[in-house]
């Protein structure tokens, strides 16, 4: 690791460890290793850990640990840190996805921008196993990448007020699937029947930071049989 970690104050009860300068799939094994060490080192004083692309936010209980004590604990966990090789591969999830302009209205636009046929866009998007970099925006919303650079596209100028749950989307070099209906400005390519966030499920979120994800193209029939919602999208208003 050529980059030197930097600790920054994030308030009375949190530090952020800046581990890397740029997004890289290999970051996650270092961040996972640091998270595991923090869990052990803080014990009951740990409140939350929020890993993201290049950082780990560590939230602790300021009644039992002062900010300076927490800083010392974190510095200790960084000594001789080794990447977590087992976590590196993570779990591989396959998300059945119906790619279709009726539920993925930006499919033609992305194809046009890439100078590719729609079928080639689907192939390019579905052949990679993506890495989950971060969860955020909404419960279970996983930021994944990196997509084939030919598919790179800017966000919509006007975000949609309602993006249906399951929508498979693209922005920049990242891809995601919306766990619940929310507003959103990403380009929609299709819809998955997978349930991404389920409060009845052990662990709640299907996807975790570090997991691998593949979108598997399925027909409308299979998508519907798996419980997918085929309702077409409202136009952007």
């Amino acid at each position: 690791m050529s980059w030197k970690p930097v600790l920054e104050s994030a308030g009375l009860d949190a530090w952020i460890v800046r581990m890397f300068a740029s997004i890289d799939e290999r970051n996650v094994s270092w961040l996972s290793a640091l998270a595991r060490r923090c869990e052990e080192a803080f014990g009951d004083a740990l409140v939350d850990l929020v890993p993201s692309y290049t950082t780990l936010l560590i939230v602790f209980d300021p009644l039992s640990v002062s900010p300076s004590q927490a800083r010392a604990i974190i510095c200790q966990t960084l000594v001789d840190l080794e990447p977590e090789e087992t976590a590196h591969e993570g779990e591989v999830h396959e998300l059945p996805t119906w790619y279709d302009a009726r539920v993925g209205p930006e499919l033609p636009r992305v194809a046009e921008g890439a100078g590719m046929a729609v079928s080639d866009v689907i192939e390019a998007h579905s052949e990679r196993a993506y890495r989950v970099f971060a969860l955020g925006f909404a419960p279970g919303f996983a930021f994944m990448g990196l997509v084939d650079p030919r598919l790179e596209c800017a966000r919509l100028n006007t975000p949609r007020k309602r993006v249906p749950a399951g929508s498979v989307a693209l922005a920049g070099l990242q891809t995601a699937a919306y766990p619940t209906e929310t507003p959103g400005g990403w380009n929609l390519l299709g819809r998955t029947s997978a349930r991404l966030f389920d409060r009845e499920r052990d662990g709640f979120s299907l996807l975790r930071v570090g997991d691998r994800v593949r979108f598997v193209p399925v027909s409308r029939e299979v998508f519907e049989r798996e419980g997918g919602n085929t309702a077409p999208l409202e136009p952007i208003t």
Binding site: I16, Y53, S68, P139, R199
Partner: protein
């Protein structure tokens, strides 16, 4: 659970008003799943409402924003109202705030509109009863989590709210019936907020740092439980956007338009704007009582002094039966 703790309908909602939410201390240990913390926007007033009704730290009570709420007691209840003065009355008689009060069965409790402050807290002896979702009953409408139904729904007209039979006489006997005068906040005074510098503060221009701490900022109309936007001089940062990272309560972020947004309990878990630092938890509580167009000021504080104040505040409250 003893027989005393069995929940029973205690309150019926006659008129729900704009926003009333059940809040415990918040949802923790799930932020890595993209789930926000929720919990009371004004932790300070929320904690006192529980304390005055003999409820332990973490018990759920009602956060009432702005007013417009009308409730009727189904049975005799003992309650405490803290936080904002929203002109609360029982059968048209003003309810004393920051102290325990009897609310007789059949009587109507009304929260009218802000006199000072924005959010009131209503706690009942025995505590409100609801099933936790992801470890908490904290109600987050955007995430459809928590509250009385578990689905993030705010109070609706016609709802019946479950209240535990107050069994712990011991607990209540040890609780104060009135908050000492010196702990009462004065929301009519301009808010001066403690900011712990951090994050990207070094990347702001000198002029912007001067402005940040020498301006009476104005609270914008765009203020809710996710965050509060401030209006004032444009702050410039050498960094426009960051790779998204975890953001803590009270973070003061500055988007490219140069107008700060202070993030509160229902914020998204990660974000990508540069930050000056984060407010202390008690200052985040104070900000949550500010109405649009009220003035606020930021002052830079070191963590030692802020920690001492925070621990003094928490030392008052019980997390275990006494």
């Amino acid at each position: 659970m003893t027989q005393h703790d069995l929940p029973e309908p205690g309150i019926r909602v006659l008129c729900a008003g704009p926003l009333a939410l059940l809040q415990d201390s918040g949802r923790f240990g799930v932020r890595h799943l993209g789930v926000t913390q929720g919990g009371p926007a004004d932790l300070y007033s929320w904690a006192w409402a529980n304390h005055l009704t003999g409820n332990l730290w973490g018990s759920a009570n009602l956060e009432i924003t702005f007013g417009g709420l009308k409730l009727v007691a189904v049975r005799d209840l003992e309650i405490a109202i803290t936080g904002a003065d929203l002109g609360a009355t029982i059968e048209h008689k003003p309810v004393p705030l920051w102290q325990r009060t009897i609310w007789k069965a059949g009587d109507t409790l009304t929260f009218a509109a802000p006199v000072s402050g924005l959010r009131a807290y209503l706690a009942v002896c025995g505590g409100f009863a609801a099933e936790p979702v992801l470890g908490s009953v904290a109600c987050v409408t955007r995430e459809e989590l928590g509250g009385f139904e578990g689905n993030g729904a705010k109070l609706a007209t016609g709802d019946e709210l479950s209240v535990n039979r107050s069994g712990s006489g011991q607990q209540l006997a040890n609780a104060p019936t009135e908050a000492p005068k010196d702990v009462l906040p004065d929301f009519s005074q301009p808010a001066v907020l403690d900011l712990l510098p951090g994050a990207q503060i070094a990347s702001f221009t000198g002029r912007s740092l001067f402005d940040a701490f020498n301006t009476w900022w104005q609270v914008d109309d765009r203020a809710d439980r996710m965050g509060v936007r401030l209006r004032g001089p444009t702050l410039n940062c050498k960094i426009n956007t960051l790779i998204s990272e975890g953001i803590s309560l009270g973070s003061v972020q500055v988007p490219p338009d140069g107008q700060p947004i202070i993030l509160l309990n229902d914020r998204q878990t990660i974000g990508g704007y540069p930050r000056l630092g984060a407010l202390s938890p008690l200052s985040a509580s104070r900000l949550a009582q500010c109405l649009p167009r009220e003035p606020v000021r930021l002052i830079a504080r070191g963590s030692d002094a802020v920690l001492k104040e925070h621990r003094m505040f928490r030392a008052v409250f019980h997390s275990e039966p006494v």
